[in-house]
């Protein structure tokens, strides 16, 4: 795992550069199993940075979450770079941003951190309950060690890490300017058995499953806002004129929202699982995204967020593309 001292020193160095205006990383949370993402501007704030398996949030989301107000007349916009610390999945979001021209490669400085997996707070809370002090975590070989106060517990990966980590195809950053720590060896592979398992249900069972899940949605839009790929300035579901989706919550409007969200991520989802992690109503949102991921992979042999030179899936065309879905 990356040395914390090295991480802070590098971050400080980067923040001292004249062409960098802010850095996105993680600091210890106030409680529990998740760190707090943080955006810092002063080099001296780098002492608070950490990286360990509690750093669950996708840091790339905070690049596109930055709010840019109109610059007052006579002033120049700040065009200095944003530095960002990334895990493997976070780095894929950055690649996809660049592919989609959300910003230029030159606008950011990427501090890549090889990742050994991040904690699933739901799994951890089943073991420890909600804890009032922040936990610390590390990995040693195949084991994950979670430290809560003076208590230390060792887990198998599957017992405590997020499901995405149990099928992680890219634990090392796929793009970086500065690599912190040694690259790690891939420990898992993805056979999409979760998608196949769901597929094996009857249409009736599938619908009754989603009906129950969508019915409980409170449309807080946390899944949309946390998604690194959801960065439209004016989202179709909150647009007021014309209003495509009603604000009222019911099975119909909620379903429209979720299907729409999933479709807009076709060929774009980089599987960071943030949508599912943040959901206060425990809706297994990734089940939809994973289906799209598999579909895109099988039909177009396309995997987003790996190559900055790639074209966006929906903006590319190949005469050999399958077209059996076209009536």
């Amino acid at each position: 795992m990356v040395n914390q001292e090295e991480l802070r020193n590098k971050a400080k160095e980067v923040l001292e550069r004249e062409d960098v205006r802010r850095l996105i990383g993680w600091k210890r949370g106030t409680y529990g199993f998740e760190a707090a993402p943080c955006v810092i501007e002063k080099p001296e704030e780098a002492v608070n940075l950490i990286f360990d398996p509690t750093c669950v949030q996708n840091s790339a989301s905070f690049i596109v979450l930055e709010e840019k107000l109109p610059v007052p007349r006579g002033q120049e916009p700040d065009t200095r770079k944003i530095a960002v610390m990334v895990k493997g999945c976070d780095s894929r979001a950055i690649v996809q941003h660049i592919v989609e021209k959300a910003y230029d490669r030159d606008d950011i400085v990427i501090l890549g951190i090889p990742c050994t997996g991040v904690l699933d707070r739901r799994k951890a809370e089943k073991v420890f309950g909600i804890i009032e002090k922040p936990a610390e975590a590390s990995t040693e070989g195949d084991k994950v060690i979670v430290k809560v106060g003076n208590e230390q517990k060792e887990f198998e990966r599957s017992e405590i890490l997020m499901d995405k980590c149990l099928r992680c195809r890219h634990p090392n950053p796929v793009i970086s300017d500065i690599l912190l720590g040694e690259e790690v060896e891939k420990w898992a592979d993805d056979d999409f058995s979760d998608v196949q398992e769901f597929e094996s249900k009857s249409p009736k069972d599938k619908w009754s499953f989603w009906e129950e899940q969508f019915s409980k949605c409170i449309r807080c839009y946390a899944c949309r806002n946390v998604c690194p790929m959801c960065y439209c300035i004016d989202c179709v579901v909150t647009k007021l004129r014309p209003q495509w989706t009603r604000r009222s919550t019911d099975i119909s409007e909620n379903t429209v929202y979720h299907i729409q969200r999933a479709w807009h991520l076709a060929g774009r989802c980089i599987e960071c699982m943030e949508c599912e992690r943040v959901c206060p109503m425990n809706i297994p949102i990734m089940t939809l995204n994973r289906k799209m991921t598999l579909e895109v992979k099988q039909m177009f042999d396309y995997e987003p967020g790996l190559d900055v030179e790639a074209k966006p899936l929906l903006a590319s065309y190949n005469p050999q593309d399958p077209e059996e879905y076209i009536m």
Binding site: Y31, I131, A222, N225, V226, R247, S248
Partner: protein, 338 residues
Amino acid sequence: MGEYKFSKENLGKVLEALKDYKVYAPQKKADVVRFQELSDPSEITLEFTNTNVPPKEIMFPQTETLFRFKVGGQDIEPRVPEPTDKMLVFGLRPCDARAYSIVDKLWQWDFIDPYVKNRRESSTIVGFACSEPCANCFCTSLGGGPADEENLDAILFDLGEVFYLKTITEKGDEFVQKCGEALESAGDVERKNAQAQGKEAIEKIRRSIEVEGISEKLPGLFNDAIWKEFSSRCLGCGICTYLCPTCHCFDIQDETEALDGRRARMWDTCMFAEYTLHASGHNPRPTRAERTRNRISHKYSYFPEKFGVVACVGCGRCINFCPVNIDILDILGKVKEA
């Protein structure tokens, strides 16, 4: 005031006997605990610290039809709930009950909201004392407590083998009359156990904030850097407000299908950009910093200034559910330091 007990196996029988009421009770469905109308007594769950969705949704549903109309017509068909429908809210945590009484001040302020008022007046509230507060509970800082009886008609304690039920108001006594034969009268033993449990629960509360002074301090921090500091990682989602038992903002929209229309109101949140978006395109709260400031200031400054009470009950939901660790106690701590 009466004191009763009943064995755990008899919970179903007690609920079964309450035919006169529309009973709302915590139920766990698809991994979420929330208050819903109880059609089958076996579906109740009392295994929770705080429900995912606060029971404000019973009085103030997320989406509610105010009236129906015909497009082009002049008549409306109101949908105000009848005050005669007797409702029983069973298993409400004392903090959530406190939230009811706090927000009532607004619902019955310059305009009396008949929708909420009728439900509130026709409700009997049976509280459920906490024995295991969650790590982020801080109700004791805001004048509440895990076994606080204020705002309740009766309170239930889980004493292991039996439930101890104590009535507090006449409405509570009336409820007990309907509970049927499963109730036995309770004595000193149960009372003492319940009191001990309440005391222990207070000691188990690990987080706190000294509220005094915050209300006066906040207006002076209107342009302070702390708002930007916290909001730089804010997602701008509705979790903290939608799941807050005292947040009560709503939007009103007309929805039509062919010639049938309804005017509905639905939860809104000051954390969304559209909340303050003007028709001109101007937004007086242009970034999440102003929105975060509003969320905290409304609870801890504007509301107390107007109604004399802080609009927060310390239930901990906004802390527990925030995906980016924006911790209200952390913010309030910084406010005090500033």
